[in-house]
Amino acid sequence: MKPAPFKYVAASSLEHALLLKAEHGDEARFLAGGQSLIPTMNFRLARPSVLIDINGLTDLAGIDRSEAAEIRVGALTRYCDLERNYDFLKSCPLFGDALPHIAHPQIRNRGTIGGNLSHADPASELPALAVAMEARMRIKSSAGERESLASEFFQGLLTTDIGSDEMLVEIAYPTSKPRSGACFREVARRRGDFALAGVAAVVTLDQQQRCTAVRLALCGVGETPVDASEAAASLIGTDCSDEAIDAVAVEVQGAIEPCGNVHATADYQRHIAGVLAKRTLTTALQRASHGV
């Protein structure tokens, strides 16, 4: 299982990387963590002619908190650096729940958030988090820069709206509103395996403990992350009783079209999506109430 031949370039700067990508288009791939790309190349499912190694572009890694309203995460930031950044996890608690589910430490030591989101595996956790948190993707090319909302960014199976001459460089996560609680849970066969279904829930309360906003996104049950916030809309204005949450869980089950895979039937995926919706909303609600 050796990769097909390619030319390798270690990009000396972001501009250099983008110029090369513009030159080679879809024949070139960016090499970041390589934890998704190299396996597909070893299986010869991916055969880029040019690999542009961007690991030297350290400016693309790191967490920028200079803006109060959002946290900006450089695309080249490795999972392990997110895991170790307590301030970040406190500000984006969904990551604290989700990161331990991504593969294993050896993978998390190299894999990057930008690589994960660009790869857009439908069972991957971070795309669902991006949708739940209404993240904004900053995308650059030699020609300039633009933004894509998480809701538009994930377009299909392993497909994002990143153009063939573009690179995802940064993801901006709005800081959580006061009196918000978040929770991510997934069901997988073994720890670190791709989710058979995963749910990210964010619940925001007012001072009377009534729900003012809810975000719900799922991974593993569609070709892209599924925004199921509409299905939870009935919670808004209520105190989110158990019965109300149960009803939302049923709505969520009706809102998704899982396809099943070698590990799970579609019905099972639909079933656990409901179970997880209930569990994550319940925990998110508790965390919101306790100011966690």
Binding site: K2, R44, V262, H271
Partner: protein, 781 residues
């Protein structure tokens, strides 16, 4: 002999090299001028080959040669039958074996079509892309029931059927038993075992020295002697011209015992063609197709019981998926057929199986070797009877156990070693008692479970019993030699894949010869060091080769005593062998070192007496008359999440009896590893083939091997009922851990989810959370 080491948890001699990265595995071999081989493999399961054109490959950079079947000329032939069918009356057996490269027909995905030899594996794989293959795709048969339809496509055209074998064995009179039964319970069972998936895949390096007329082959095989003999014959060489070395092997588990795999046959031939050493290392993707599997059986089985739950008889008709070829004969289904009887009194038994060809990779033994399938059927039948008759599952087993005074116990039907199935010794009830005690059965079923349930925990308990026929013949041999420096060399023909032979065999020799176990150097798996043998399979290494080592060591000990008694002019009875010396009892100053004796045994002057030989060495063989029957009981407590159906093992107990134990630490490791594979088999590992014979989960990301989070801590205990069939009293233990885990899970999960009360029965393995969800849909509230 003194037993300073035998029975002790001696730390392993082989560890240092393995822990420092110095142990030689096949891919570590680098030879000057070595070339690398890649195989083009079929992407479809069934096709007629119209043509294969390798000219494109030959033009690729670094490619030295490319071959298709015709290029092999007279060397191309179907592989030999490895294990003939046992001598059972009325048997049908249709032999069809694998070929080095597919010629007219492709019969499973992954079957080799062409070979590329290049300067590197990278370049060889590039060249594979340039080979063009012209095929007529044919319809595929993968389902073993529809394969028997008269209208089905045939895997082997010339046969006119997909039947590989048909075997019926019986004892007693089932029909009579059934007519007297208080109850008969009949069900259909599906049992699938998976692939061995050792962390080291297969590999072969072949080096032909044309001037010395010598072929050296490094091979991850579990059977170096048989492979040497067969390849020598195929290559037109004498056995002494071929040396097969199984170096350190990263896990065998059975499929590395399959011989004359296409790659194994091709590599030496290529080495002779090109006069350069060649290497092929199976990559993980190839392993899913190129190395043998175990797969599924469907059993329609019924049990006839009296009102106390005692077995009057069992009838079983089953189908066995043998894959596209059947070179390994009937070992797997015969094991299923025989091992179903378990540790129980079964007065009447009527068992019929049909082995079926399918367009899937071949099936040959993998740890358990078909025993799992039989044990699942028996244990589930007993559970069904227990539920029906409202008898506790442990109690119904107790009532049926063969009593200790009934040994040797004759089960009459023919076993895989061609002998009538006979259990040499056993004492089963204490093993059951110990397991029940260790798992806390009484307390759990008597109140703890109810308390936990009331607190919302879906917990369940399971218990399963089994026997394992081990230590079969034909024989093994060992050469033990004291060297001039006083160290001892032991060589035997079997190979080692992690079982600790370098230590357990050293323990045996060290005790006989009174030396430090670390001063015994064991060589296994090198045909130049030991000529004769069968291989490492069927839990026989310790039993058969261990006894051979013992026999040879005893002879060397006697020789040493004789030499010393001559030197001291005293009686042998006055001597003691210890600490590397032979000394006079009571006069420790009067001693001679073993190494000195070895030198004296090879005199520079004088003569060796008639009837004796030079040197302090002996080669002895041991061939047991039949297999030694080990037994055991596993017990488990599980908790199931009633919403997600995910499973957590709360407690796992193994009590087993493999006779006399050489090294309890190594034994425990074997049990742990077997149970881990059993857990994989029961709940995680499943080969997902589609109806076109394509494997949908051909990667370790989707073929789920258990990790340290899925395998729990296990509590082990053992009893010792020695085997009367060998002087050391040993029974085999290598496969024990893997055998009863399937029915154990089924029983415990049924209990945890109270499925029987909901009219849901678990009659299949593997299970999974999704499968439990689907089966529970049929629950009756």
């Amino acid at each position: 002999m003194s037993t300073r080491y035998f029975g002790a948890p001696v730390q392993r001699n082989e560890d240092h090299r393995l822990l420092t990265g110095q142990a030689l595995f096949v891919d570590d071999i680098e030879l000057p001028g070595m070339l690398h081989v890649a195989f083009l493999r079929s992407q479809v399961a069934h096709a007629r080959i119209k043509g294969i054109d390798v000219s494109g490959a030959l033009k690729c950079e670094g490619v030295v040669a490319a071959y298709i079947a015709d290029d092999l000329g007279a060397y191309w032939q179907p592989g030999p039958l490895l294990v003939p069918p046992p001598p059972i009356a009325g048997i049908t057996f249709n032999l069809r074996t694998q070929v080095p490269l597919a010629k007219d027909r492709i019969r499973h995905v992954g079957e080799p079509l062409a070979i590329v030899v290049a300067e590197s594996r990278y370049l060889a794989e590039d060249a594979l892309d340039e080979i063009s293959v012209d095929l007529d795709i044919l319809p595929v048969v993968v389902d073993i029931e529809s394969a028997l339809d008269p209208s089905s496509v045939h895997v082997h055209d010339d046969l006119g059927t997909n039947i590989s074998a048909h075997v019926r064995q019986s004892k007693g009179d089932y029909r009579a038993a059934a007519s007297r039964a208080h109850r008969i319970l009949k069900r259909r069972f599906h049992y699938e075992h998976g692939i061995s998936s050792p962390i080291e895949t297969r590999g072969v390096v072949a080096q032909w020295d044309a001037r010395a007329n010598q072929m050296t082959i490094w091979d991850t095989t579990q059977a170096p002697v048989f492979v040497r003999n067969g390849l020598a014959g195929m290559l037109g060489l004498g056995e002494h011209q071929v040396r097969v070395i199984a170096p350190f092997v990263g896990g065998g588990f059975g499929p590395k015992m399959m011989m004359f795999y296409p790659e194994e046959v091709a590599l030496p031939w290529i080495a002779m063609q090109l006069n350069r050493p060649v290497k092929w290392i199976e990559d993980r993707l190839e392993h899913f197709f190129a190395t043998s599997h175990e797969r599924g059986q469907i059993h329609d089985a019924e049990i006839a019981v009296d009102h106390d739950g005692r077995i009057l008889g069992i009838k079983d008709v089953f189908l066995h998926d043998t894959g596209a070829y059947d070179p390994y004969g009937l070992t797997v289904p015969i094991n299923s057929q025989c091992t179903l009887l378990g540790p129980y009194l079964v007065p009447s038994y009527d068992s019929t199986f049909t082995a079926v060809f399918t367009n899937l990779p071949i099936v040959t033994p993998y740890r358990g070797a078909g025993r799992q399938h039989g044990v699942f059927v028996m244990e589930r039948l007993l559970d069904l009877a227990a539920h029906e008759l409202e008898i506790d599952p442990a109690e119904i087993r107790r009532r049926n156990l063969i009593p200790p005074n009934a040994f040797p116990y004759k089960n009459e039907i023919i076993y895989q070693d061609f002998q009538p199935l006979e259990y040499d010794s056993g004492n089963y009830e204490p093993v059951l008692d110990m397991a029940l005690e260790a798992i806390g059965y009484a307390a759990f079923t008597g109140g703890e479970q109810a308390k936990l349930r009331a607190a919302g925990h879906c917990v369940g308990i399971g218990i399963a019993c089994y026997v394992e026929g081990t230590g079969i013949g034909p024989y093994e041999g060992a050469k033990v030699q004291v060297l001039a420096n006083g160290k001892v060399s032991v060589a035997t023909g079997i190979g080692t894949q992690g079982q600790g032979h370098f230590t357990s065999f050293a323990q045996i020799a060290a005790d006989q010869l009174g030396v430090d176990v670390r001063d015994v150097d064991v060589v296994t798996g090198d045909t130049e060091r030991f000529y004769w043998g069968a291989g490492t399979f069927s839990s026989r290494g310790a039993v058969v080769a261990g006894n051979a080592v013992n026999e040879a060591s005893k002879v060397v000990r006697q020789k040493a005593l004789k030499l010393a008694s001559d030197a001291f002019e005293c009686s042998e009875d006055d001597l003691i062998v210890a600490d590397g010396k032979v000394s006079i009892i009571g006069i420790p100053e009067k001693f001679v070192r073993l190494g000195e004796l070895a030198q004296r045994a090879n005199p520079m002057r004088g003569a060796v007496k008639p009837g004796t030989e030079p040197g302090l060495e002996s080669t002895q063989y041991f061939g047991p008359p039949g297999g030694a029957t080990a037994n055991g009981v596993h017990a488990i407590i599980v908790e199931i999440d009633p919403e997600t159906f995910d499973l957590k093992i709360l407690k796992y107990v193994v009590v087993h009896d493999c006779g006399t134990v050489i090294n309890p630490m190594i034994l425990a490791g074997q049990i742990h590893g077997g149970v881990a594979q059993g857990i994989g088999n029961a709940f995680y590992e499943k080969l997902s083939f589609d109806d076109q014979g394509q494997l949908l989960n051909a990667s370790l990301a989707d073929y789920l091997l258990p990790t340290a989070l899925e395998v729990p801590r296990m509590e082990l205990a053992h009893t010792t009922t020695p085997s009367p069939l060998n002087p050391l009293g040993i029974k085999g233990a290598g496969e024990a851990g893997a055998i009863p885990v399937g029915p154990l899970f089924a029983q415990a999960i049924e209990d945890a989810l109270q499925l029987k009360q909901k009219k849901v029965e678990l009659l299949e393995i593997p299970l999974s959370p999704s499968r439990l969800f689907e089966l529970s849909k049929g629950a009756v509230r």
